[in-house]
Symmetry: C2
Subunit: 255 residues, 2 copies
Amino acid sequence: MAKVLSITNQKGGVGKTTTAINMAASLSRMKQKILLIDIDPQGNASAGSGVDRDSQEVTAYEVLMHAAPIQEAIVATNASYDVVASNRELSGALIELVDEEHREFRLRVALQTLREEYDFVLIDCPPSLDLLTVNALVASDAVVIPMQCEYFALEGLTELVNTIRKIRAAFNPDLNIEGLLRTMFDSRNSLSREVSSQLEEYFGDKVYHTIIPRNIRLAEAPSYGKPVLEYDKRSKGARAYLALAGEVMGRESNK
Amino acid sequence: MAKVLSITNQKGGVGKTTTAINMAASLSRMKQKILLIDIDPQGNASAGSGVDRDSQEVTAYEVLMHAAPIQEAIVATNASYDVVASNRELSGALIELVDEEHREFRLRVALQTLREEYDFVLIDCPPSLDLLTVNALVASDAVVIPMQCEYFALEGLTELVNTIRKIRAAFNPDLNIEGLLRTMFDSRNSLSREVSSQLEEYFGDKVYHTIIPRNIRLAEAPSYGKPVLEYDKRSKGARAYLALAGEVMGRESNK
Ligand SMILES: Nc1ncnc2c1ncn2[C@@H]1O[C@H](COP(=O)(O)OP(=O)(O)OP(=O)(O)O)[C@@H](O)[C@H]1O
Ligand SMILES: Nc1ncnc2c1ncn2[C@@H]1O[C@H](COP(=O)(O)OP(=O)(O)OP(=O)(O)O)[C@@H](O)[C@H]1O
Ligand SMILES: [Mg+2]
Ligand SMILES: [Mg+2]
């Protein structure tokens, strides 16, 4: 039975897509069968995995609109994980689903048919708390929160935690926070260190021990349509995401 | 007659809010009367300007819902520019306005009553191309596009330019691109330089000469509720935004 994780934070540019792609690739290296679902209309997780968004006949849009079974949206990548791609069309779903009954459950219902085929399903979310992100949270067992250790990102955390709590109460009683991941971390600067210690104080064990450093190879890899493991496996970025995958696997086996 | 500028890019974390706050403060130093409107429900531009979002009776939400005149939403800041604040409530406007006639013109109509009182009105947008951003674009004379020189930000540019073109055709014939601003720029890394030269090739004069470097003081200032000019006026970040304000003023006088 697949564990479904949303990669979520409404604050923009905190490393959601970079985490989704590189967690998928790292977990695949550990012989886990991985599906990465891109529900951000920007389609960055699709492009960063080497998938041509505009040539896919079935994407996350058809899946959410229940216009095609999710199996038809699945694309294999060179990095041995599968992807359900997204593109601009997906923004249309936001408007078209407004009046639908159970609009929050569209993704959860679609995923039920394939939870036996994967070990993990990762969902890359857009920078908002809209119906697309709500669909991801309703479909998930837990949430991974990428977090840049800066002021605006810290400001938004309360809102995100409140939203998770509301989704748990209204739609998905099992939903909880899997972990907070410190990204683009620069230990030389006091702001990062200060925000980081606030996170540890407030969230305790929920904060992953693994910290992702700022590393230019992580920003270069997507222009080649590759996870950093395929682009430069010796880089600090690649090693950090492998360590994270190890930590995620370790937590699973302790349960 | 105020010049109205939207600070827009659906890519998250590219420096929209940092640009909106520091352009407002820098232009105020040049004796310009400035209003900064925050239409991002995250409310970062409000918090970064030292405004307590949750204690304002009238915010951008009431303005868009036409529940109060915009004059009642205006708050003075210590940095001598005015702010219309926003908070989480603003996400509600997205749903409540869906069926309204002329829902794209709500902000433009509200602004008409005060264009004589300011030299510039700056609008900080959320990381999306939703009805809030559309309202900003319909209300604006031009768009400032903060741009991180990295792959995902470059990918999103076509979509943004298309959206601006559609808004011009459907709602606002005068709307054009004022300029693209390179933010968090690190000249040591080849990815930044490469993306930067692609921008210059494609957009020519529309790319501001001023480049904003990565500078930690810009990330520290908002935690004190201050623009960087008030926090550390000798920093590289403060000097860069002053140079940008000079460039913006220079372009205005050439028209
Ligand atoms: N650890 C890192 N070191 C250096 N650059 C990074 C790192 N993580 C992400 N980046 C770069 O920072 C930018 C923002 O990251 P990313 O796009 O993954 O964030 P996001 O949260 O998915 O953004 P959005 O809110 O737009 O979806 C990208 O250009 C990415 O390549
Ligand atoms: N030139 C810079 N140097 C260093 N840090 C910066 C710079 N510009 C912005 N930052 C920091 O980077 C982060 C992202 O910037 P900011 O929040 O302004 O982007 P945004 O585009 O408004 O994000 P969102 O998409 O969430 O609205 C913030 O923590 C900010 O303090
Ligand atoms: Mg993303
Ligand atoms: Mg912002």
